[in-house]
């Protein structure tokens, strides 16, 4: 008799979801599905609004990564206006994007995932959280808190607000950078870099302790999508899209923002509000690809900063013959990206040009359709708007990192459930691993369904006939 296990809610992620695990006649895992159970619909209710409002409106999608939405939205508006923004504005947008990446990656690694890594996947769930880490590993927890605060303060210093700043605007940024703010950030960069390097030095030797998780946490061949610069270097703000395969061979390169829809399709499944983007030339669902830190390190040819370049070499050594495939290594990739971001911020702030007072281009709408793409902490973020003659939004499409990863997350939970879940005897540690593979992607369901809330999780166990036989809930 087939059975189904449900994990509802999924914890330590952003948003609401549940997982169902279907068992076969022998009580073994047949398939697992992630269901996103929340909906907001920003694409719909922004219709009729002036395009200039889109950065502020869409930034409200999320309290964790509003900067990412501000950037992609402002870039889509730049495209509608057909302007080239001032060089200093582009540099400042890059700096604040790195502040966002640093704070978000620190949140994911230290606050949400370090409990699994430090306390163990099978440890008592009552203590498997940031407080438990703080009690046993105060130095690491302190570092995590400091690093996240540093990223948040970067955003606050640049824009006067930590969450939902109105500083990134169509055409550039609202105000120039002062020397005082630049110097404040520069003064704290060495400590931030020291923390990032120390954490990498701790993490790299212990990765081998998680071989079972590495082998089964969404460890399968897939394509990867991400932005790269003109020279193939990692890119978070501009550049073009590249798709590589599991051997890290380029499938498609130099995809311009406005051509994204030629390559990215969006399928809809009946059991989830989260759409399932796929690589169109391959079709659905075979066109599965991944985005985010792991993908960015797989699609790029180089990092372009000294320390991050060395870290990339170590990272690539995990899988010298091709792309690093296990989603467990999203954690590692995040740490490498933090080092890179800190180095790039130092470079950008060292340029005298960044203090220029010329930070905004002005124009009315000069195109009826605009596309903006940037790399959010969780992956590629696409904003696509169409406007009428009055500049009012008549259609909007937002493709969010977590959406890109939907197919991969579903395949990943099936893989990990098959490896760890025993349908005859549910173990908390096994269910935690099913959640943990999702946490590798650090999904933000508020963004990807444009929804609100935290992400509790529910696991349901169904038999062959579809009857619910067991449930495990949290949140």
């Amino acid at each position: 008799m087939t059975q189904t296990i449900t994990i509802d809610p999924v914890t330590r992620i952003e948003g609401h979801s549940k997982i169902t695990i279907k068992l076969d006649d022998d009580g073994q895992v047949d398939v697992a599905r992630l269901h996103i159970t929340q909906f907001r619909g920003f694409e719909k209710f922004t219709e009729g609004r002036p395009y200039q409002e889109m950065p502020s409106l869409t930034a409200r999608t999320c309290g964790i990564c509003p900067i990412s939405h501000l950037l992609a939205s402002a870039k889509a508006c730049d495209d509608l206006m057909a302007v080239a923004i001032p060089a200093a504005a582009a540099m400042l947008r890059r700096v604040i994007n790195f502040g966002q990446l640093i704070q978000s990656h620190a949140l994911s690694f230290f606050h949400l995932s370090s409990p699994d890594l430090l306390l163990g996947m099978d440890s008592d769930p009552a203590n498997r959280h940031i407080l438990g880490v703080a009690a046993k590993f105060p130095e690491l927890a302190r570092d995590g808190i400091w690093l996240r605060k540093f990223g948040q303060q970067m955003i606050e210093r640049l824009s006067s607000k930590r969450i939902h700043p109105a500083w990134i605007v169509p055409g550039g940024v609202a105000s120039p950078l002062s020397e005082a703010v630049r110097d404040q950030i520069l003064a704290e960069l060495p400590q931030a870099l020291a923390i990032a390097r120390k954490t990498l030095d701790w993490f790299k030797p212990v990765i081998g302790n998680f071989q079972a998780e590495i082998d089964s946490f969404a460890n399968f061949p897939s394509m990867f999508l991400g932005l790269v610069g003109p020279d193939g270097a990692i890119e978070h703000y501009d550049g073009h899209l590249r798709v590589v395969d599991a051997q890290r061979k380029i499938v498609v390169d130099k995809i311009e923002a406005r051509d994204y829809a030629t390559y990215v399709g969006e399928a809809v499944e009946p059991d989830s509000y989260l759409k399932s983007p796929y690589f169109k030339p391959v079709g659905y669902p075979a066109g599965l690809y991944r985005v985010g830190p792991l993908a960015r390190l797989n699609v790029c040819e180089r990092m372009g900063t000294p320390l991050a370049e060395m870290e990339l070499a170590d990272f690539r050594a995990l899988q010298p013959e091709g792309a690093v495939l296990s989603s467990f290594h999203f954690h590692y990739a995040r740490l490498v990206e933090i080092v890179y971001a800190l180095e790039r911020v130092a470079e950008l702030l060292a340029s005298p040009e960044i203090l220029s007072r010329d930070v905004r281009a002005t124009a009315g709408p000069n195109r009826r359709e605009g596309v903006g793409i940037s790399e959010a902490p969780r992956g590629t973020l696409i904003h696509n708007y169409r406007i009428d003659a009055d500049g009012l939004i008549i259609w909007a499409n937002l493709i969010i990192a977590t959406g890109h990863n939907n197919l991969a997350m579903n395949q990943g939970i099936t893989q990990v459930a098959k490896r760890f879940v025993d349908g005859k005897q549910l173990a908390e540690g096994a269910l935690n691993r099913v959640e943990a593979v999702i946490r590798c992607y650090d999904p933000c369901l508020s963004c990807s369904t444009h929804a609100l809330g935290e992400m509790p999780l529910r696991i349901e166990l169904f038999d062959v006939s579809g009857a619910l036989i067991d449930t495990c809930e949290r949140g």
Partner: protein, 183 residues
């Protein structure tokens, strides 16, 4: 060398939290804003939700007042004042992106070796609809909360500023030079 007596008065950290787009949910934020205007010698932070990073700020304070809204019925509503126990059970939210006051005190203790005395002042809230102003009833309780804190030992020696107009609870008329630290 003789003993040096500190002339620095104890520092109280006021943390007001809530969603300022959800009417009365902003009660703690509004009350903290008023205290920041009138008592700039103390530190005030307003946030939408409590996050682990606040542990570092808490560790530097001599005492902490958390200001929050709680859903109440109009009949029998009152301020809820509770001492925060750092050994209290960790709230489920500690697993996610935000914390509760007890978890923050424990974080402060674990990470920085100190946890100041702390209190939560719960302000009755009656409407959580979308809106940027508080209801008249909650505005009254915001005044009461501010008066209670000003009259308490936390702010002893400070001149009580008296009742404040409700219009200011919606954020109007603020002195921008004395705003609380905000997200």
């Amino acid at each position: 060398m003789g003993q040096r007596l500190s002339t620095v008065p104890p520092m109280t950290l006021v943390i007001g939290y809530g969603n300022d787009l959800r009417s009365d949910d902003a009660a703690g934020v509004r009350a903290a804003g008023l205290l920041a205007e009138h008592h700039p010698e103390h530190r005030t932070i307003v946030v939408r939700q409590l996050t682990p990073e606040l542990a570092a700020d808490i560790a530097m304070a001599d005492r902490v007042v958390f200001l929050d809204a709680y859903p109440a019925e109009k009949d029998g509503a009152s301020l809820r004042v509770e001492r925060v126990r750092e050994d209290g059970e960790a709230h489920e939210s500690a697993l996610a992106h935000h914390c509760d006051p007890a978890s923050l005190l424990r974080l402060s203790r674990y990470l920085f070796g100190t946890a100041p005395e702390a209190w939560v002042v719960g302000i009755p809230a009656f409407s959580f609809d979308i809106g940027e102003t508080t209801s008249p009833a909650t505005s009254h309780w915001i005044d009461e909360a501010v008066g209670l804190i000003e009259g308490s030992a936390f702010f002893s020696g400070l001149r009580k500023k008296g009742k404040l107009s409700r219009a200011r609870h919606s954020g109007e008329g603020r002195n921008p030079e004395k705003r609380p630290e905000a997200e």
